[in-house]
Symmetry: C2
Subunit: 305 residues, 2 copies
């Protein structure tokens, strides 16, 4: 699946994803007129996502859908999450479900079925939330990761393990030094590179990637050197303070190696002075193109073979 993602990045000349972290507060007022329950809220959120997807699907290779925003609206929100995934895939986008799941082996297996694999019902199989890639957390060690790797291989999917996150206190725990001098995030990076070693695709990157924030360029640089076969999902651009200059260290000499996410900066672009007067989806398209150009002014993506 990382191969497919890279192919789409090369085709679109765009190593960025639009983050569909949609909540009611991001919607224009006129879309809230009939919203008075979780069910109607979820319907409005899906409508918003659909218009954003229609407006950006030819510009970006992927969307990242942050499930927390949908869980706020109970199972109705999860219905909108499902509908968003299915719609984005129909438009040819690669869907990264940002779920950060983690548990013991048997339970990790359930999560894996839900997002990467299939669930058995009455002798046949159905897909619960049919994503292409997901995010996961490695705190529980390898038996909490292996079920995802197994399904990744079986169904041609991908996963990104949390390594060095973009939030201000990410380093509080992740930057602690182990007795061998390595940081916790560096050790996790080593585990990810090892776990992914049997899933390396034709561009040299594994289907098991890592989440590496754009807000810590020195650490990202070290990780890029330490993890030559690991593709990065890079949050933190824009609203969180990461710049294109900061994140160029995540990319290799061919301009590959990572995909940068922006959520609020795209979804709420219509509220920003630069795009004022445009409707939300046109503003989102323009902001997405501006983001692509900003990143491309710092890296050179190779051409297709």
């Amino acid at each position: 699946m990382t191969d497919k993602l890279i192919e789409r990045i090369i085709e679109t000349k765009n190593p960025s994803a639009v983050g569909l972290d949609t909540c009611l507060e991001y919607l224009p007022k006129e879309m809230l007129e009939n919203v008075n329950s979780f069910e109607s809220a979820a319907a409005a959120i899906f409508e918003f996502n659909k218009n954003i997807i229609d407006s950006i699907y030819d510009v970006v290779p992927a969307v990242k859908v942050q499930i927390a925003y949908y869980e706020m609206y109970s199972h109705f929100g999860l219905k909108a999450f499902y509908d968003t995934i299915v719609y984005a895939k129909k438009k040819g986008l690669i869907v990264i479900s940002d779920i950060k799941r983690n548990d013991i082996g048997s339970t990790a297996g359930c999560y894996s079925k839900a997002y990467l694999g299939e669930t058995k019902v009455d002798g046949h199989f159905e897909r619960a939330f049919p994503s292409d890639m997901i995010t996961i957390n490695g705190y529980l060690g390898s038996d909490g990761i292996i079920p995802f790797i197994d399904d990744m291989k079986k169904y041609d999917k991908g996963a990104f393990v949390l390594c060095r996150t973009s939030n201000p206190s990410g380093g509080e725990f992740q930057n602690l030094k182990l007795e061998n001098g390595q940081t916790i995030y560096g050790y996790m990076g080593g585990l990810i590179e090892k776990w992914g070693a049997t899933s390396i695709g034709s561009f040299g990157y594994s289907d098991l990637g890592a989440v590496v924030g754009a807000t810590h360029p020195l650490e990202a640089k070290k990780l890029r050197e330490q993890m030559p076969h690991t593709f990065f999902l890079i949050p933190g651009y824009g609203f969180q303070g990461g710049s294109a200059e900061d994140l160029k260290v995540c990319f290799d000499s061919q301009g590959l190696g990572g995909i940068v996410n922006s959520s609020r900066g795209i979804l709420c672009a219509y509220k920003i002075e630069k795009y004022l007067g445009k409707n939300y989806y046109t503003a989102a398209r323009n902001a997405s193109i501006d983001m692509r150009n900003d990143i491309n002014s710092h890296i050179n993506i190779r051409s297709a073979k």
Copy 2:
């Protein structure tokens, strides 16, 4: 909320929770006759849970509902998860939603609204998955934990942070030594004790607890000494190999300090030789009483004031 949980533990003389990690494979064949879709699967699972709850609500203080099992059945499963929470609360049980959520501050805030707090819709507030307590993962540091602590205080709720998990490879990462000689799980334990310091209730335990597996008694003993104000959620009893003898180190001299979870051992008791011939909910009740008695043969729970 930990105070309320402890009061219920004293009333029932039972420091254990029934884990509702329900999947289709656990249901008796006759309940599967009309199951042919996610929607009908979710309905059957809720029916099963309802009968289990009716059968155990006067014996145990709490249920732990593992959300991964419901996510496998898409948004229909999440509806069953919601219905299970609401029904268990109506029967007076304390509901622990085992979700192991984690993210950056703003997104952690969404998860917190979904499970502990409320979501704003059209000027009023509704609860998405109205739990009493949840599990969370501290890999992202304090700004990923604070939103949960804030809601914990505002709504009188509780949360358990992953510390030393019960799975075989839990130690692979958690047992690594830091340069100060502390293990990762020990360091996380220190953070949890610190984060919970402003939420200590009348029994001396904070509303911010820790997940400490029953399968590592030596480590659990150290954590009990290191974390005198932290209440433990103790998975790993039964099917995973932890015994009542193993987990008694988690309790203080008053027989308090933790709640032990068993899932498959209760839900699938009707498949075990000892309970053969009983229907699933009667077997679950008997297994739950046997578990209580087993634990109580190793600890002495104090009386009410």
